[in-house]
Subunit: 221 residues, 2 copies
């Protein structure tokens, strides 16, 4: 079945560049917040998504909409930052607004959450996710300083607007006592050791009940 | 050896989108005409190529420059059109200017040409290419109307600014009597039957002295 709907939760390159590889005349609906649609519109290269076949659908935060038949989605803000290419001299990494959003997906009484970027698990977000059937969560880094230690630059996970997996305030610890049916890490950076099958970190994440997401993964709720 | 130099010959998505997949702090020089640099600069998403590590190097047409040590490049205009996402209501497909260029590469007395998009083989271009040691040439389509016949839209090769391979004014016929050491088709569209090993078209192109370019191909002059 061809692509019908594309939902974008962030305006940064790793979220929107894939739009450029879609076929020129492929009709679909492009769902995003107004903030993200604006970021896309400021780049004429995305005009290749011909407006006569690709409908821009602006979505309000916290208002459910039908993403595809029998699947409802609701966008909600999570702490994050503006896209890298829009950063100024000062970068707020716990910004809550239209730039970085999570998605609640609901079908047949079940709820899944997709949150590929998240700077912190606030009490409100924790309360929202409690009891979910499925969670896809930001798995960018194992440790906050792993890119610095690997000599790949000066940026920590916090600076990039991401929680790390490890440590007392990491996602593995933060989600440990929550009731969530299935937990899947997504959006891993290529420095994250959980990506190596057989690594200690991979084993620890799995032992704590996490699945490491993979390309082409399909999930049935 | 890490990438040192990137040379872009066209501002369209298939030529520039790859820049978005390079590492954020990878230092290199980005060479292009002013016309192509302008197109890139109009899209803030390319600001991810941090100006402190990626040097924009504007290149004048017909002026040789050192692309990497011991390899000189010269850009020259070939007939083409503006990028898809900058097309207006009227599109000139034989525009000659900074938007679509070929490259002459010279090292140790040998010359190779790289021309991934070209709407027509003009007498001037034919004279320039005569005697080259190597030619990489626009292999987008086998026949002008192959995308239309495949039901993939209304655009012909001519409309997209490309010569086709087949036919009396196609590139195979046009280059048949020229003295060129080695001829390689590049930039094939996925509808082009030469991509299928064992196809009649693949055999015909090879019988006429053409190599079908492949990902990862390395060539020694």
């Amino acid at each position: 079945m061809p692509v019908q709907s594309v939902l974008v939760t962030n305006g940064d390159i790793d979220h929107v560049a894939g739009l450029l590889t879609l076929r020129e005349m492929q009709p679909f609906s492009l769902f995003a917040t107004n903030g993200i649609h604006d970021v896309i519109a400021e780049n004429p290269i995305f005009d290749a998504l011909n407006a006569s076949v690709v409908k821009r659908r602006p979505i309000l935060l916290n208002e459910p909409f039908e993403l595809v038949t029998n699947l409802t989605a609701t966008l909600f803000p999570v702490p994050g930052k503006v896209p890298l290419y829009l950063e100024g001299d000062q970068v707020q990494t716990d910004l809550v607004g239209e730039q970085t959003v999570g998605v609640a997906l609901r079908t047949q009484g079940k709820t899944a959450y997709y949150i590929p970027g998240c700077a912190a698990l606030t009490p409100e977000l924790r309360a929202q996710l409690e009891g979910a059937n499925l969670l896809f969560f930001d798995g960018t880094l194992w440790q906050n300083d792993e890119m610095v230690r690997a000599g790949l630059g000066q940026k920590t996970g916090k600076r990039m607007g991401h929680m790390s997996m490890d440590g007392p305030d990491g996602s593995i610890a933060e989600f440990a006592n929550m009731q969530i049916g299935r937990k899947v890490f997504v959006h891993m950076n290529n420095t994250n050791p959980v990506l190596r099958p057989g690594s200690t970190e991979n084993a620890r994440a799995q032992a704590k009940g996490w699945t490491i997401g993979q390309d082409g993964m399909e999930i049935t709720l």
